[in-house]
Symmetry: C2
Subunit: 64 residues, 2 copies
């Protein structure tokens, strides 16, 4: 088992979006994220990169 | 550290594409995959789902 943290990249800055992620699913233009604690999030973003060595997920989305 | 295996989903079947994946990067319409052994692959596919609990990556791409 292995979990990861997701960061949302906006204007060269990375903002922590969720930790201990168990699942990511692409649902149309959105991403569904679920943590090992059952926390769920749906964000209008795309996956940019996943580094399994550092367990880091980088997402790109519209500026908010 | 944690590595994963990628499966390409085609017509309800899943084909193993690469094991021991260290990095996935979205590059336009393609995906760049790199294993912990340095093996590299670029495939015309999209990420559908990543399950970090089972270390399984499901990709979707054009039928070949």
């Amino acid at each position: 088992m292995c979990v990861a943290s997701a960061y949302l990249k906006q204007r060269d800055q990375e903002k922590l979006l969720m930790e201990e992620i168990a699942l990511i699913r692409v649902e149309g233009e959105s991403l569904y994220l679920k943590s090992i604690f059952g926390e769920e999030k749906s964000v209008p973003a795309r996956i940019k990169e996943i580094d399994f060595v550092t367990s880091k997920i980088v997402l790109e989305g519209p500026a908010t």
